[in-house]
């Protein structure tokens, strides 16, 4: 058995770390020393065995870790592309299968909403979970029927929405057809009216046309038309006013207020004492009309007076004062305003004016 120094020296010689003089010295000794030669051979054989053992150990380690389960799959570029494509397709399929049922559910619910009859909702008072437009419509219909129920306090079997729609449509169609009929009638009557006028000129009026004419009395009806004489009133108080005002100005010069009062007083007195000049100037055309809506009033455009709702038998008279037309009816005076509107009768209440008009 060799000592540790020899062992280390042989180690260095065998692994090549012994160099220089130490190597030359060792080689010299190795040539001559047979014991050293045996020691080197022993150590070399043992080291070789250790290396072989380690090599086998590492190979067995590799074999264990490279067993069949973990066998290497070398992915060629084509295989990698194929696998990536397959994975992408699989992902798309998974996503589609997850998303598509949601769309399908939505479709089903809407179709169910449409299929649900409103009567079921009314009877069961179900509150729909979804706030779809169809259900809102149903809830509105529900509200309407409940209002009707509370008003009539009667059990009303609600009509299906479809039948309501149908009736509405029928009504609309009926209304349209009626409207069309009326328009046709109006057009026909207009044409027939012309024909009637033409016939009246000839003195003959067919009975069938008269009947149709009665049917279309929808506007105001002219009863009669008369002419009345308008008495124009022009009171002459210029002299009295002038003389009295002059005297008043001479007498009262101190107080202006007093002057005003006196002037007004004098004017009224002069108006009362004055002798009115009444001159028949013109005639006015008066038409008696029967209103469809029983309107009572007048329309005066300056040349013609249209009286609505007035009895023709009652006597009337017209007076004109300062270009203003007054109607006398049943002992009352009414002012007729000149415009193109329909006006109500306005009674004159001014006593002075009434006195003038009544005189």
């Amino acid at each position: 058995m060799m000592d540790e120094n020899t062992y280390l020296l042989i180690n260095d010689y065998l692994d090549g770390s012994l160099k220089g003089r130490a190597l030359d010295k060792f080689k010299t000794e190795l040539k001559t020393d047979s014991v050293l030669q045996e020691a080197v051979a022993e150590q070399e054989a043992i080291i070789a065995a250790i290396q072989s053992a380690r090599e086998q150990e590492l190979k067995s380690y590799l074999n264990q870790n490279l067993s069949k389960k973990t066998k290497i799959f070398s992915f060629s570029p084509k295989l990698k592309i194929g696998l990536a494509t397959a994975a992408a397709i699989a992902l798309l399929v998974v996503v589609f299968t997850n998303i598509s049922p949601r769309f399908a559910d939505k479709d089903v619910t809407t179709s169910e909403d449409i299929k649900e009859s409103p009567s079921e909702d009314f009877n069961e008072n179900k509150v729909p979970a979804d706030s779809s437009s169809t259900k809102e419509g149903n809830s509105l219909a529900n509200k309407e029927t409940t209002e009707i129920d509370t008003q009539t306090l009667a059990v009303v079997t609600p009509q299906p929405q479809v039948t309501e729609d149908v009736t509405i449509l029928e009504n609309e169609e009926k209304f349209d057809s009626d409207l069309e009929d009326k328009i046709v009638e109006i057009l026909d009557t207009a044409v027939e009216k012309d024909l009637v006028e033409a016939n009246t000129t000839q003195g003959a009026k067919p009975k069938a046309l008269e009947k149709k004419e009665e049917e279309i009395v929808v506007s105001d009806k002219l009863l009669t038309s008369r002419f009345y004489t308008v008495s124009s009133i022009s009171p002459d108080f210029s002299e009295t006013i002038s003389t009295e005002t002059v005297s008043e100005i001479e007498v009262a010069t101190t107080s202006k207020r007093r002057d005003r009062k006196k002037k007004v007083k004098a004017a009224s007195e002069s108006l009362e004492n004055s002798s009115d000049k009444v001159t028949a100037s013109r005639n006015v055309n008066v038409e008696y009309w029967q209103s469809v809506v029983n309107y009572k009033g007048y329309k005066y455009d300056g040349a013609k007076v249209q009286l609505y709702g007035m009895e023709q038998s009652k006597p009337i008279s017209f007076k004109e004062l300062d270009d203003r037309l007054y109607l006398s009816l049943n002992g009352k005076q009414y002012f007729l305003e000149k415009n193109k509107k329909y006006n109500r009768m306005v009674e004159v209440t001014n006593s002075t004016l009434l006195k003038v008009l009544n005189d």
Binding site: A45, I50, E55
Partner: protein, 187 residues
């Protein structure tokens, strides 16, 4: 490929120097296809691929831990060069084996076979050693790990402890071998 994933080259080398045996598997898996394609194109078989691959990876493992090792190319290029050399050596051995086989048939001697058998017996004795000594001697004589790394791996106090323990283990193995074989058998 699956467990470790892509590692930077310097990380692989560093972990080999630290005696991380997982790097053997990593190198094997990383370069298997490349070596396989080469061997199959050069009149090799799948079994030969595995053998060459293992030898190549272990050769890289050993060489990286040598003190004067300097990698001047990519690790894959280096490994591929080793694999090529090993395969050409194997091809030469095969052709030589044919000649030797023919001469053996004529001469009838097989002295080399007996020597290989003795070596295998010593290997068996190494494998039967206790765990610590076997690993210590393996790390030192095969892996070429430094005494510092061996101390860390085997949880020794320091490098000096490794040195003294190494001598003790070697003496023990030598005694076992000499008890089984005579000195003449080893020469």
């Amino acid at each position: 490929m699956f467990g470790i994933g892509k590692l930077a080259e310097h990380n692989v080398l560093e972990r080999i120097k630290q005696g991380d045996e997982q790097m053997l598997v990593h190198l094997y898996k990383e370069h298997h296809t490349m070596v396989k394609n080469f061997i199959l194109k050069n009149s090799g078989t799948v079994d030969a691929v595995d053998d060459i691959m293992q030898d190549s990876v272990i050769a890289v493992w050993k060489n990286v831990n040598k003190p004067n090792f300097l990698l001047q190319a990519k690790l894959s290029t280096y490994l591929m060069a080793i694999a090529k050399n090993l395969w050409f050596k194997e091809l030469k051995k095969k052709s030589r084996f044919k000649l030797v086989d023919e001469t053996n048939h004529l001469a009838g001697g097989s002295e080399e076979m007996n020597l290989n058998l003795d070596k295998a017996l010593i290997v068996q004795l190494v494998q039967d050693m206790d765990e610590t000594c076997r690993r210590l001697l393996s790390y030192f004589y095969f892996d070429g790990l430094s005494t510092k790394v061996i101390a860390e791996k085997l949880e020794f106090a320091n490098a000096n402890t490794v040195k003294s323990k190494k001598y003790q283990c070697f003496k023990k193995l030598q005694g076992t071998v000499l008890s089984k074989y005579s000195k003449e058998d080893l020469l």
